[in-house]
Symmetry: C2
Subunit: 585 residues, 2 copies
Amino acid sequence: MPSYKAPVDEMMFLLRDVLDVRSVFADMPEQADTDEDTIQSVLEEAGRFCSDILYPLNMTGDVEGCRLENGAVITPKGFAAAYHAFSEAGWGGLSASPDYGGQGLPRTIQILVDEMLSASNLSFGLFPGLTRGAVETIEAHATDNLKTLYLPKMIAGTWTGAMALTESNAGSDLGLLKTTAKPRDDGSYTITGTKIFISSGDHDMAENVIHLVLARLPDAPAGTKGISLFLCPKFLVRGDGKPGVHNNISVGALEHKMGIHAQPTCVMNYDGSQGWLIGTPHRGLAAMFTMMNAERLFVGVQGLGVADASYQTAATYALERLQGRAPNSNTTSPIIAHPDVRRMLLSMRAFIEAGRALTLFTALEMDKEKFHPDPAMRHAAAGLVALLTPVIKAALTDFGFEATVQGQQVLGGHGYIREWGQEQYVRDARIAMIYEGTNGIQAQDLVLRKLTLDDGQPVAHLFGLIRKTLNTAEPVPELASIRHAVQNAFTHLETVTKRLTDGDLSSTEERNAAAVDYLRLFALTCFGWLWLKMTLATRDNSDQAIRKLATAQFFADRILPQTASLASQIGTGSAAIMALPAELF
Amino acid sequence: MPSYKAPVDEMMFLLRDVLDVRSVFADMPEQADTDEDTIQSVLEEAGRFCSDILYPLNMTGDVEGCRLENGAVITPKGFAAAYHAFSEAGWGGLSASPDYGGQGLPRTIQILVDEMLSASNLSFGLFPGLTRGAVETIEAHATDNLKTLYLPKMIAGTWTGAMALTESNAGSDLGLLKTTAKPRDDGSYTITGTKIFISSGDHDMAENVIHLVLARLPDAPAGTKGISLFLCPKFLVRGDGKPGVHNNISVGALEHKMGIHAQPTCVMNYDGSQGWLIGTPHRGLAAMFTMMNAERLFVGVQGLGVADASYQTAATYALERLQGRAPNSNTTSPIIAHPDVRRMLLSMRAFIEAGRALTLFTALEMDKEKFHPDPAMRHAAAGLVALLTPVIKAALTDFGFEATVQGQQVLGGHGYIREWGQEQYVRDARIAMIYEGTNGIQAQDLVLRKLTLDDGQPVAHLFGLIRKTLNTAEPVPELASIRHAVQNAFTHLETVTKRLTDGDLSSTEERNAAAVDYLRLFALTCFGWLWLKMTLATRDNSDQAIRKLATAQFFADRILPQTASLASQIGTGSAAIMALPAELF
């Protein structure tokens, strides 16, 4: 039967041998104590919690789902107890500010724990994930009074957070939203409106739910420049800091979803609820963007985590399941002997390991952005984070979903039924391509904004790093063919990037048409670069080195050639996309 | 709200303008009366039935699902009544032999009706689909006595069929199956064993279920050459032809599946059930293969049908949903104005229309194989059918699934919830990549058997047809760039085919490793060929012509370049796939 084991060795290999986090953290006064032993013990402890407590609730939570009874959401059996254990162990405050009771660990560690949470129980992982997003927004933009009142409870996990953005007619285009906020005499506001798709909107696991709600003030300009952000607790907080009277926030319905059934996705009604402004009037979207990079990195990691869980089951099954004969064999073989089964497993591995490397590379840049004493380092890191965020969000969830589909295929008919859990991973992974900005929106963000950000410095910086690794690998004979494939991919990426930023494909329409293929080309090239970095870091005869070299070679031979066709596809331009009149679709 | 309309105009365009079925049927005495008016009225009538009766039951059937009560399967509300209406209208016997009450229409028409059934209600469509498979097997291999007893009732839909092949340890490798058959004194057999994943294994829609069961005789050799086929009715048939006593066939459980919830997929127990041999002892697999081509074509069409249903909803939504501003626009636009949304819709269309063309081309070859008076024509047609069957089964279900994922993405968050039906299409389409031989198995069939079938005549025949179309298109200036893209793809396909059949990639291991990528390359090239044929057939200023030219250009520009990278990937060989020791996965 399937199980999940957190890949702590893989994670430590990346932190120690590929990214050398020890020396990076050594430059940051606030992280100077974060040594490898500390990291490893945190990861091992988190891995045990995920395997022992959260993973066993994953399938039962899917089958039971959440339900709405008398206006209140009931989560599946075992979730509330698991959440209390999670909060008591302090996992909710891992990377939160010590000023409000957090442990202040770096994003690099947080994101690895997020991967484990996503792999073992995505529905569960969203509760603390959304709380953290709310915490980071409040910390960056709210008044000290609100911070003191809300942050300690949220960081402790006593209260959870929810993000109330989407309305039925305002999804990708938040400028269309209609929820209103009217000022009261006491400086607070009255919030009225209906929101949809609100994750963790209500539940029975914590004593209060703190909603961050986007709404319009009476004098708000139309569109995205007239949206403000408000804090609306489910229960108003009394003078003694305890939850008091109900704040007229109600659950209109639970959405019937394809997956993440144990996560209550709510239609929420705010019927004259009391709220407090966070940040500047009409600048609510900007305040939300503070935590957007972190949230999008988290969503990318969801795709990665679920893919790894699916891989673990598929690999176990392939080693045990006897069916057919391998080429040149006379006896029934475990299916891992069949080249096509290996192809599927290697495709999954090749993505998962490179995806994890890209995530960690980016998380470490986030840590530099936050903790590094040198402003120039912080600025450069911020640029890389801004550039890579949409790539990670979209590519890790696209490839992650594709990996779960392959992990299901390895099991044949047994992958289509509930028993082995593979079909749930496909259904759960699918949401990550949609929420927190669809992957199409991410691609637009990359091509229309991030490529030209800061006069193109971030992309030049990244390309410089890729070139450096290509140079380092040049004298290594056993990496020659991998290096060659990465060099080809990189040449395609550079050429297309130039055409999109100041060449024949730089109009808005062309860039929009190119965006999704371009993001895929960008991500595959980054994966190639990181495969080269990983193989450079493991040049001995260990199992680890054999595994890395074989998987890197597979990636170079069987996946990286896609960059050539992506470059061709983009190169033909938007004409074929725009030719058909809308009414003929 | 979503709906489904059978694309009868598209179907008639293919039949009339691309394939010229009228003149093909004119050569076949048994089909000489099948004229275009007849075909069109059959298709329109079938389309109405699917839209009005089956489509409205699709989502309710998914939500309610089947259940097992006191050992009997209860299908969702409305299914039994719909099935009776379906049978009364004679839809179950459309292409069945007139000798047993069928209408004897060609496969070409049957497969179009199958597409509509799959699009409007896949779970429902499997009931008559499996019955037809059983009918064709019985007709080809059973004794006259069995034929007379069973075929009229099955063709009328009074009884349904089920195929009992898989066991828990024998899926892709049927040679491992353990169900036994012991001879009785009266010439029948006693069948004992347990089968899993049995579609339509039991239900409440018809008065009897006729199981075709694979089992081993006492003296059977091991492996696939010791499997025999038996007919086992749920109720033994009395002397008057009515169902009599129960035959010890029971439902062990209903599988909990990702999708097709309204289709009862059963664990079936045969506890000393009485069965009758079909065909020769130990040659049961060969008897099953009779109907395999037709079944696999049907499964391919399931992928196509569900993709079209998803497209119809996605296109409707994209024309209505206002969100964001198109490039160069100042007002909120329907999302079809966004290039990336068009890209998704065009990808779906480009696949669906070419997939339908390939299906019809192949179905027409099946009709030639069956009805043509010239043995040489029958032989050539049989070769093309054998070659294209695995391509259609795998490519139409792979691309079909990918299309439903895109159709879901077009709707954003609304695609992830039940309301619009898009997430059900993804879940339902997923099974077609697995059953009736996984798509990996199909690719093996293509590369290991079909390429070298009949000394390679079928593949040479097909390549000749492609070359002919390329020549026809050569003088047409407006098709130049499409033709160029198809020529490139075809060159890749020819080169790789040569390497696989008698070049450096012709070992079993190499072919196994190449198979899935090769099948995709093969299918994309066929799609390109058929896009060229379709554009050649519509050179006027009609909406149809505009649509075909724009979609063909999109396919040539944005999808066909994938053939280059597939050729590269295959060209690197199996080394990278085989390098990693099994225990390091």
